[in-house]
């Protein structure tokens, strides 16, 4: 959940008695949202101050979260929520600004690329303008700069640069005393996100070696190769951070292993949900994680989540088993499911599903 708990236990208890709400602070939200959306309690509201066009398909959203927001460390991400056609959508994005900007000016930035067919990223590009309020959760993630300072190698691809922008700016501001190299892969010059900012950073922060590589300029794609890594001084002594498309991350992992960089020095963070594959109706099933019970099982065919849970020895609440009574509704925290009745495919984010009519498509995590 995106909401923060109230601190005062007695008031919280009383609020629950009076409002019948588990989180009584949200009881007045529907009224308050009308008066001032920045007072909503269900999440930390953040007002969009400015929208900056980075490339043809990437924008940076400058946000001013309500002051109660807990802040973040460079490299972390946040869940944002926004309502699109009546449906609350939650998605995770990396914070691209330095924590200093939050501490000094109360601002944070998200740099977001349009995903082809992506519901939320496209909506953000098409509908968000200065003044729009979106919801923010607390920051999380372990993609953090080593402390104390150690030599660092960043390998980024496309919009995977976003958490690294935050880290580099923080390092420059701290005058981080260790060599830092960034290998940044983009299709072409037009696709460089925050190019000016990166070049300005490199010139004022001498520890940074910046290399922007255009993969599509020549006839043959110019991908990451062994030479790129061999040029990095003291490669084996570096902490390596990977953020980019799956192909780049896998390749980088292999090349680093070949060069003897140990596993515990390689850090990667997720970058984007896998592109929606065109699956046949028969290609369903996948790894199902029942998070609260700490149970993980594989499933094949069109077994629904309720059957899968029961086969795994769990006893989730259920009723009609035909999609009527919603007794088995619970939260899906990630992954895609198909509604057996409608054939409709869910989004990848956190939402409610009815177990008895939901068939997993690929890995799914359920709060059961």
């Amino acid at each position: 959940m995106l909401a923060r708990e109230t601190q005062n236990k007695a008031m919280h208890w009383l609020g629950r008695q009076l409002s019948n709400h588990e989180n009584p602070t949200t009881w007045l939200d529907p009224l308050i949202a009308r008066i001032n959306p920045m007072w909503v309690q269900a999440y930390t509201p953040a007002r969009v101050e400015q929208v900056v066009q980075e490339t043809a398909d990437t924008r940076t959203f400058v946000l001013r979260p309500a002051r109660r927001w807990g802040g973040f460390r460079a490299g972390q991400h946040v869940n944002i929520c926004t309502e699109i056609d009546g449906i609350r959508r939650n998605r995770t994005f990396s914070l691209s600004s330095s924590p200093l900007l939050w501490e000094t000016q109360g601002l944070v930035t998200l740099t977001i690329k349009r995903l082809p067919g992506g519901l939320v990223t496209n909506w953000l590009h098409d509908h968000v303008e200065p003044g729009t309020v979106i919801g923010l959760g607390e920051a999380f993630g372990e993609f953090l700069i080593p402390d104390p300072a150690q030599p660092v190698l960043f390998i980024a691809g496309g919009s995977g640069i976003t958490p690294i922008l935050s880290q580099l700016e923080t390092m420059a501001a701290q005058d981080y005393r260790a060599p830092v190299t960034l290998l940044y892969f983009v299709r072409s010059d037009r696709d460089v996100i925050a190019g000016e900012k990166l070049r300005a950073l490199a010139s004022r922060y001498p520890a940074l070696t910046l290399e922007i590589i255009h993969s599509d300029d020549g006839d043959v794609p110019r991908i990451l190769n062994g030479e790129d890594l061999d040029k990095v001084p003291g490669l084996r002594g570096r902490q390596v951070y990977l953020c980019g498309p799956g192909g780049l991350m896998d390749l980088a992992g292999d090349l680093l292993h070949q060069r003897g960089v140990s596993e515990d020095r390689i850090h990667s963070t997720f970058f984007a949900p896998p592109a929606p594959a065109q699956l046949q109706d028969t290609e369903v099933g996948g790894q199902v994680t029942f998070a609260r019970s700490d149970v993980r099982v594989g499933s094949e065919g069109d077994a629904n989540l309720l059957e899968i849970a029961e086969a795994a020895g769990l006893t989730p609440q259920y009723g009609c088993r035909m999609g009527i009574c919603h007794q088995c509704s619970c939260r899906k925290t990630s992954g895609t499911v198909i509604n057996r009745l409608t054939g409709e495919v869910s989004g990848p984010g956190e939402e409610n599903v009815q177990l008895c009519i939901s068939v997993p498509r690929g890995p799914v995590s359920i709060d059961v």
Binding site: L31, I87, R88, N90, C320, H326, Q327
Partner: protein, 363 residues
């Protein structure tokens, strides 16, 4: 019950599914705005009622405050709580409107309601012996239950049940009739009783202790107003709910005819076992759109404010399949409910003579 063969039942299922799919495909902004508007109205009325109540020593303000709080409770129970808990707004993905975690402003816990109402009543609608909502184990309303002397006073029981409706609903899952017949033991019901005491205690604390004490000098007035508001809600919700299944033509079913039934048969049972009443827009809203009980029973998880919009289509499906669509004015439908409660309180012989027909075979 109207008999349809398997092919006809399949066709019925497809016809009704088509209506459902059309609404599902159209869910969005409008539905979210509707329920939020009702929630805003509820919050405003509840706060207004609570703030005004201490000034209840001025009679018109007492009436206004009590009505305001009573209507707030009605809106919260009928149009928000009942409908949210059916999963009508789960698709909005708003944690505050999630069917499985919603808790409402009445004695019955959300969990108990979800078990007894969403599952038992909506799955086994009007199946005598399976649907414990049919007569609430207090009233005899069908020939399938044999007359016993205690039934002769059931009209008094009905009035008591209406006045204390939230407590009756709260205790429904106790299954007192099964305890009485020793089919279950008190020990089995301890977890339920604990939950009941917790929630009942919470509701009584709020309305009968906390708010009166908060305004100590006028505590009796606040207490009286809060009792009044709960009473208004109790009488209204009981009346609406009784109009849903206990009207003249609402049918009942036996366990045998429902064994291993198809979805089409389930649909047929919902159509013939439920009854609507007509009225203005606010009558529908205050009834939580249970005035469209037929539509509600066929599509319990479609947002209720959609029922008036799809009613024409449901009626067309009923006409096509020759199924009686049971509706009438609120007064007429409620009249048949009172009549039914009264008639079934009489021994079969007397009732038959009153109705001028043959006494039905005792079961």
């Amino acid at each position: 019950m109207k008999k349809l063969n398997e092919t006809q039942l399949q066709e019925l299922e497809q016809d009704l599914n088509a209506i459902r799919d059309e609404v599902l495909a159209d869910l969005g902004e409008r539905d979210a705005q509707y329920i939020r508007r009702i929630i805003r109205l509820h919050r405003t009325l509840e706060i207004g009622g609570r703030v005004l109540m201490p000034f209840g020593f001025i009679p018109p303000l007492f009436v206004a405050a009590t009505a305001s709080l009573g209507i707030a409770k009605i809106l919260e129970n009928m149009e928000i709580g009942h409908n949210v808990m059916h999963g009508q707004y789960d698709w909005m993905n708003d944690p505050d409107l999630h069917s499985q975690t919603y808790e409402w402003d009445t004695v019955c816990t959300g969990d108990s309601w979800r078990r007894t109402h969403n599952y038992e009543h909506h799955t086994y609608t009007n199946v005598i012996g399976k649907d414990r909502d049919y007569g609430y184990a207090v009233l005899r309303l069908s020939d399938e239950e044999q007359w016993k002397p205690r039934h002769s006073l059931q009209f008094i029981n009905y009035i008591l049940l209406s006045v204390l409706f939230q407590w009756g609903v709260g205790l429904h899952e106790l299954e007192s009739e099964k305890l009485h017949r020793r089919e279950i033991r008190w020990r089995d019901k301890l977890p339920f009783l604990k939950e009941f005491a917790r929630k009942g205690g919470r509701q009584a604390f709020k309305d009968y202790i906390f708010f009166p004490l908060l305004t100590l000098p006028v505590a009796p007035i606040v207490l009286a107003g809060n009792v009044g508001a709960n009473l208004i809600r109790n009488l209204w919700s009981s009346t609406v709910i009784f109009c849903g299944h206990f009207t003249q033509d609402a049918e009942t079913f036996s366990e045998e005819e429902c064994e291993g039934e198809s979805k089409g048969h389930w649909y047929l049972r919902q159509l013939t076992g439920s009854s609507n009443f007509t009225g203005g827009r606010w009558l529908h809203i205050l009834s939580g759109h249970l005035s469209y009980q037929i539509e509600h029973h066929v599509f319990p998880d479609l947002p209720a404010h959609r029922y008036p919009e799809i009613s024409e289509k449901v009626q067309a499906v009923c006409r096509k399949h020759g199924i009686h669509y049971n509706t009438g004015s609120f007064a007429k439908q409620y009249g048949t409910v009172l009549n039914r409660i009264f008639r079934y309180s009489l021994p079969d012989g007397i009732r038959a003579r009153l109705e001028g027909g043959e006494a039905p075979q005792a079961i």
